[in-house]
Amino acid sequence: MFRYILKRSLGALPTLLVIMTLAFFLIRLAPGGPFDSERPVLPEIAANLERAYHLDQPLPVQYGYYLLNILQGDFGPSFKYKDHTVSELIAEGFPVSLQLGLSAMLLALLVGIPAGMLAALRQNQPLDHAVMALAMTGITIPNFVMAPLLALVFGVFLHWLPVAGWDGGWKSAVLPVVALALPQIAYAARMMRASMLETLGSPHIRTAFAKGLPLRLVLWRHVLKGALLPLVSWLGPATAAIITGSVVIEQIFSIPGIGRHFVQGALNRDYTLVMGVVVFYGGLIIVMNLLVDVVYGLLDPRVRYE
């Protein structure tokens, strides 16, 4: 198992390098530069700026510098937020994004799994239809529509919760977490329902019932374990979805996470910031997928690490 993790981690390095290289050259391909603004910068001043940020060097040289710095754990200075380095921005923003993402993921699991179970146990009955209809709505309404709606109802009309902002308290977290979790709740519920139904129909469950075991025991001991497996493998893509979702949610709720840096960085041609966030996200997703595979193996004895 240790060897497996080591092997996978080493295998991730070339992946990261490819991501980095592609991102580096792709963002440079985009027209315009970090220092273009509505008021054109005088040529002499532009030269000063480019010198200060090594943009006057040929691209491959800049790339070399960048790789060297990354090896030393230095993402460089942000071109736009001149008082901060990229590492500082990520270090300040990530805990917030993490809190937001983890809470949303927890909520998705805590609500989605029971909902899916209920629906499966009442298959084709009104409750099932209701849950699935809600889930379908959750999936189809994009979060950039849902988020402002929630803010309008609970913030502006009812005054229960703040409309935007993030003060570290639970109140300011409720709306963004719910908005971010809703589609994932829906996915989790649908997936749970499907896998429950599949498991319920399998021979070992039929045997369990035939032995006269009570429903609760069968559910907890036999059904749940099998039915949860597909959900575990869904956690990988779900993490990615929550990360990309938080890019939108952070923007709408003015949350100081790193998702906003990603979008704003790209729009501002803040090369180093975009690169930093890309590398960081890339690494994060690779790690999450690895974790999911490991957990999967622990739950499913049929999986063997080689």
Partner: protein, 524 residues
Amino acid sequence: MRILPLLLLSLCFAHSPLVLAETVLKRGNGAEPETLDIHKSSGVSEANIQRDMLEGLVTEGADGKLQPGVAEKWDISADGKVYTFHLRSDSKWSDGSPVTADDFVYAYRRALAPATASDYAFILWPIDGAEAFSKGEQQDPAQIGVKAVNPQTLEIRLKAPTPYFLGLLMHHMAYPVPQKVVEKAGKDWLKPENILCNGAYCLSEWVPQSHVKLVKNPHYRDARDISIDTVHYIPTEDQNTELKRYRAGELDITYDVPADQIKSVREEMAESFRSTPYIGTYYYALNLQNPPFKDNPKLRRALSLALDRDILTGKITQSDEIPAWGWVPAVSDYTQQSMEEKALDKTARTALAKQLYTESGYSDDKPLELEILYNTSDNNKKLAIAVAAMWKQTLGVKASLRNEEWKVYLSSRKQKQFQVVRSGWIGDYDDAYNFLSIFKSDVGEMNTSGYQSTEFDRLVKESETQTDPKLRREAMEQAERVLLADMPVIPIYHYTTQHLVSPRVTGWQDNVMDVHKTRYLGLK
């Protein structure tokens, strides 16, 4: 799985209720500040914060107009080239140490140093030797015409009389910086634990994308008369979110109002809504380096006359903009100029537009085809569609639209890859020169159209050195008339600024510079 309850708990207890014992003002502030370094920033959001933290030799009053700052008085030499500033004895940094003339000398040298790479270095270029130093042509900072005669006296030598020089000194590029801190802490001088301020407030906390918190500087000379203790500048990049936060009472002042909401806001929140002319012009620049606009003033005028600006602002943009018949917006000591045809009624104008269009060689059989470039935004798009429709209807011009993402658009504009491009110009200081100087033939990229006119250049040059205010003003007004006759750009409207200001806020005065220092504000 045992980690779950823990995480939930941590979520619940992370909440720490804010106890508000002091007067706290919450201001929406648009974009997240790029930097608070006065020599490296270029945006409005940054300037709003810096204006509260640092104070120059002269500063803005509640009405945005010039008044004495760190300098209580100044003398100007007869030739208009030497300014001697006498500094207040009670002007202090936030640690209680005095603000001296040397702080200014140090700040201006830093502002101009090529290594600082300041976008706005040109603000100080009227100072003797400043431009050469900034461009790296000469390396001795002592050659810059800024000298501390003694700790209370600062002498600034200019390379030529510059009548608007005092106005420039209100700009953040001309604030002092605390030499001892900058030298010791380097780029970390702005961290709350290091920074010293000489303005009414000082930085206490900066959480990126969340807020910048300033607290009152006890050593500021008027500290006792200032009623706001703490001000939070809250980034509000999304205007709709900002409006919601204002409605929910989370903000006292907004940075802006979403254009499509102005109508309803004006009705529902009349006591909060503020709309004021701003020192800026929204315009379409025509590319004079290539046909069809090169050497073709008649065509340029035809296009300009074919636009019904009242409809464009009244029905399309609907944000209280002022239809622009001239280039320079309402600024101090200047009579706004307008195209001669403003006096005509619409029918006569349309007829004239058609006549000029035909005279420049186009007709229904041979219509002008052109492309309008704009940066992606709803407002720009609506306006471009309306402009294209007016040109089509009145003249038969076939205009197509091209929108580009902001940085792509800037790059196209820089390389003059356009026929007609939407642009905007916001003044840095309250003087018409700010608007006229960008059409001099030698300013490079800033002259979006590539306009060249010896007559215009001569008049603007004359205004640069003319020390008699009346003659200077006349030269500038005449220059604008030349510009409007040549029509290298089609002015569309003069900007306005919109804010929602809570009825609780006192001391707010609308002004053309849209400058509202917190020290003048209060909360009921």
